[in-house]
């Protein structure tokens, strides 16, 4: 079952981010225009250093743009956004339950209601048995599941995900991708997902934004036509998937080469 698509709408216009340091300035993002519709799963791919994480951090309120505007319409959502970080970012001194409930505690959700919601979120990611564990007692995959639960439990208008599965081994990544798609299909929230894997972008998203090497601009936006619900294994084995992967790689290739040349210079 695919839920009705609902979530925050995002409108980004002429966004620019410049880092000024003693030696000079670095343009991380330039001329970013992008609109994300409610309930869309948008993936952003690009070579390392293209500013894709910076864009996400600005959306998350952890960084500010140099110029340009961002409009997020999250009316009706208790929380505008929740981010899932690459290294889970679970607090080592809190149990899984306390970590997952963190965003509820900070917002003063009554304890009884919070406990209920945390329980539901733990169930959603299959971690009920581990609720009293500390993060160091969990595997990398379980930690990322907890981080996903922590984000979903706050019922945000949009989820911001910064290469959440990049540090996992291949098998865990496949499992978690499938779970994420399942959870997203159930909830239908807006997701902005940064990755460096074309394959991941195609498996998960409705559209893929390809960014240029530094300064980060939007090079192309590609529609991903695969219907939901998706079976990631069969999907990744299909001819259409392979063809699209190659298409996007062609778009991305120059940028990756350019980023490499830049690094070696």
């Amino acid at each position: 079952m695919t839920a009705e698509r609902r979530g925050a709408a995002v409108e980004i216009a002429a966004l620019r981010k410049e880092y000024v340091s003693g030696a000079g300035s670095v343009i991380a993002l330039s001329n970013i225009d992008l609109s994300v519709s409610p309930g869309e799963f948008l993936c952003i791919v690009g070579p390392s250093g293209c500013g894709k994480s910076t864009l996400l951090r600005i959306l998350a309120g952890l960084d500010t743009q140099t110029s340009g505007t961002i409009n997020v319409d999250a009316a009706g959502w208790p929380v505008q956004n929740a981010m899932v970080f690459q290294d889970s970012g679970l607090f080592p001194w809190m149990s899984v339950t306390a970590n997952v409930g963190f965003g509820l505690m900070t917002r003063g959700v009554p304890a009884a209601e919070a406990a209920e919601r945390v329980e539901a979120a733990l169930k959603l990611v299959g971690l009920t048995k581990f609720r009293n564990h500390y993060p160091h007692q969990l595997s990398g995959g379980m930690r990322q599941r907890s981080a996903i639960a922590r984000a979903f439990v706050t019922d945000p208008g949009m989820l911001l995900m910064d290469e959440p599965f990049a540090a996992l081994d291949a098998q865990n990544r496949v499992i978690l991708q499938a779970e994420l798609v399942r959870i997203w299909e159930q909830t239908g929230k807006t997701v902005i997902y940064v990755t460096h894997s074309i394959e991941e972008a195609l498996l998960l998203g409705d559209r893929t934004v390809v960014m240029t090497a530094q300064p980060g601009r939007i090079k192309q936006i590609i529609d991903v036509p695969f219907p939901h619900p998706r079976n990631l294994m069969t999907l990744s084995a299909s001819a259409e998937f392979g063809r699209m992967k190659l298409d996007i790689w062609r778009v991305l290739e120059d940028e990756v080469m350019r980023a490499r040349a830049e690094e070696e210079r």
Partner: protein
């Protein structure tokens, strides 16, 4: 089960070196190397220890010393943790407090004893104040170091998930710094015994330090050793208790 007996065995191994030292000490004196009037044997000291325990004299001095350590340790470490956390969170606090720490930390705290006697008199208060001051510095520095080295991602998560300043302070900065705070508290515990015993030498009529100093003036060398050993034992016991507390308070610290 197996790991339990392994740790028990390891703990037992820790006794080898002290026991060997005592044996050598005893044997050397018994075969006539060294003067027993000035250096009593471990058994002489043990006998004196026994009489002092039964007379209640040792308990009196130990009680006074422990109370001063305990009160001074709390009075010094609680504000130190608070100030250290505030320094890490607010730059103005850091700018204000940093030079004071840099200037006062290196002063041997025992040098403040006459000043404290003027301020607090000859009673417990002056000794407790001295311990508190001596404890404050290692704890404040460690707390600040621990709190300012909390990984950036935890600040990011806290901000993204709507943490208020209060939540940041009580749930993130404090706990994130806790392992380092405990390292500071451990140093502080040793420091508090050091300065307290020194202050009791000159400025007290009760306490282990007084007992040691008084026995030197009366040339009761065995009492002196009882005092020294007692301090060592107290240090050991408090340090073991401290480790237990640490294990309870920081359960996430990877073993």
């Amino acid at each position: 089960m197996n790991s339990m007996s392994a740790t028990a065995r390891e703990r037992a191994l820790y006794l080898i070196s002290p026991i060997a030292l005592l044996l050598i000490w005893q044997v050397l004196l018994m075969i006539g190397i060294g003067d027993r009037r000035f250096i009593p044997t471990p058994t002489d000291i043990a006998a004196r220890f026994g009489t002092m325990v039964t007379s209640g004299e040792l308990a009196l001095h130990t009680g006074a010393t422990l109370w001063r350590v305990f009160a001074g340790f709390l009075a010094g470490s609680i504000p130190a943790v608070a100030v250290g956390l505030l320094m890490a969170m607010f730059k103005p606090v850091r700018i204000f407090v940093d030079p004071l720490i840099a200037a006062i930390f290196p002063i041997p705290k025992i040098a403040l004893m006459p000043l404290l006697l003027l301020a607090f008199g000859f009673g417990d208060a002056s000794k407790i104040a001295l311990v508190a001051i001596a404890v404050f510095f290692p704890v404040v520095v460690n707390t600040y170091t621990g709190a300012s080295n909390i990984e950036k991602i935890y600040w990011d998560v806290a901000r993204n998930y709507g943490a208020s300043q209060t939540v940041l302070f009580t749930r993130i900065v404090f706990f994130g710094a806790l392992p380092t705070i405990f390292a500071g508290l451990r140093i502080a515990l040793a420091v508090s015994f050091i300065v307290l015993v020194a202050s009791e030498f000159v400025a007290s009529k009760v306490g282990i330090g007084y007992m040691i100093w008084n026995s030197w003036e009366l040339l009761q060398v065995d009492i002196m050793f009882v005092g020294i050993v007692t301090i060592g034992v107290l240090g050991l016991i408090t340090s073991v208790l401290f480790q237990e507390v640490e294990r309870k308070v920081i359960p996430w610290k990877a073993e």
